[in-house]
């Protein structure tokens, strides 16, 4: 009767080893997971107004290319990333224009305007976008992205609103 209620020396060792081992594992294991994914949890999202060109330099109906770089600190290094797009003017009104992002919506190569094809062509998998950014051909799932917000400065310079991811 009494036997079954008492923990044998062996069982005591087994249980203690299990508990202590589990504790050590958890104390080192959980922080290790955070340690590995820390860069993915970092807040980015700096915002800025970026000048892309003079309104008077842009011709109606001809995509005006622009590009800019943003520098971000990643770990112990500063990483410069390039961005770009095309401003397409529709009339004399400085607000009557749309600004496309040249990052292909398929797998992020950079599209280029081709005057002959009258389309944006992607070098990677032959995608074709219209001047308005709609998909004409190729694998992209949706139209080119647009920079939604822009403004015109007093000097007649177009600026776009940019938010880092």
């Amino acid at each position: 009767m009494s036997d079954s209620h008492e923990l044998s020396r062996r069982d005591f060792i087994k249980v203690t080893t299990g508990i202590v081992g589990g504790l050590i594992g958890a104390i080192i294991g959980l922080p290790s997971v955070y340690y590995l994914i820390a860069p993915a949890l970092r807040e980015g999202g700096k915002e800025a107004w970026i000048p892309i060109g003079k309104f008077e330099d842009m011709q109606i109906g001809v995509p005006y290319p622009f590009s800019f770089t943003r520098v971000q600190v990643n770990g112990w290094e500063r990483t410069a990333s390039s961005f770009g797009g095309y401003a397409v003017r529709k009339s004399d009104d400085p607000n009557d224009l749309f600004i496309l992002n040249s990052r292909c919506t398929h797998l992020a190569c950079t599209v280029n305007w081709s005057a002959e094809a009258e389309a944006f062509l992607c070098p990677c998998h032959d995608a074709k976008f219209s001047i308005a950014g709609e998909v004409l051909d190729g694998p992209p799932p949706r139209a080119l992205d647009v920079y939604e917000e822009h403004r015109v400065t007093e000097e007649g310079i177009i600026e776009i609103f940019f938010k880092e991811s």
Binding site: I28, P31, Y35, P39, G75, E77
Partner: protein
């Protein structure tokens, strides 16, 4: 279903035999001094794990080594913990391995048939010191730089072949990017591989011979 998987594995592996030979071995009367080898093994595994985690951020180039260690300490969640364990574990491992060796000597456990276990133990002690020596340079701070300058210089005082040893250790006459790179390679690949192999043979011999009886006054 689990039971079937267990039975399938058991039939091919033989858990009973394993258990009997590895965990349920007959032992003479033992003391806490007999735990030092296992403690050394635990630290080796711990150093291996934390070391692997360190390589996720550490970079062995003179331009970035220092900054990457700084980043581990300040920029990464729990980086201070992982590096802290690796840093203090390194010191503790050297101490433990040494005390383990002293106990084996004191209890005369190196005698027949365990001479080979002892010889391999000497290899284990030297490779453990090698881990400490090569790891110390990696943070690439002043202390690391000058400690390695002095350490390699000492090796260079050996008669006749001293200069060759110094150049081979440094990868040239000076402490340079080549030194950091080869110390890194030695620290994470060559010496750990040697250490793991030696540990394997060490453990095999221990299981084969069992623990030694401690000598009594009459011996």
């Amino acid at each position: 279903m689990w039971k079937n998987i267990y039975l399938w594995l058991d039939e091919r592996i033989g858990f009973n035999d394993l258990n009997k030979n590895l965990l349920d071995r007959p032992e003479p009367k033992t003391t806490w001094w007999n735990t030092l080898g296992s403690a050394s093994l635990f630290l080796f595994v711990l150093q291996g794990l934390t070391g692997i985690f360190l390589t996720v951020y550490y970079t062995p180039s003179p331009d970035h080594a220092y900054d990457s260690v700084q980043y581990i300490m300040e920029g990464v969640a729990f980086g201070w913990l992982i590096r802290g364990i690796h840093h203090w574990g390194a010191t503790l491992m050297v101490i433990l391995v040494f005390i383990h060796m002293l106990r084996v000597f004191y209890t005369a456990s190196f005698k027949y048939p365990r001479e080979l276990t002892w010889l391999i133990g000497i290899g284990l002690f030297l490779t453990t010191l090698g881990m400490g020596f090569t790891g110390y340079l990696l943070p690439w701070n002043q202390k690391a730089f000058w400690a390695t300058t002095v350490g390699t210089q000492i090796a260079g005082t050996a008669p006749y072949i001293g200069e060759f040893i110094l150049k081979a250790l440094r990868g040239g006459p000076d402490l340079s990017a080549l030194t950091l790179q080869r110390f890194f390679s030695a620290h994470i690949w060559m010496i750990p591989a040697a250490l793991a192999g030696l540990i394997g043979v060490h453990l095999f011999l221990i299981i084969k011979h069992g623990e030694s009886h401690f000598p009594t006054k009459d011996d």
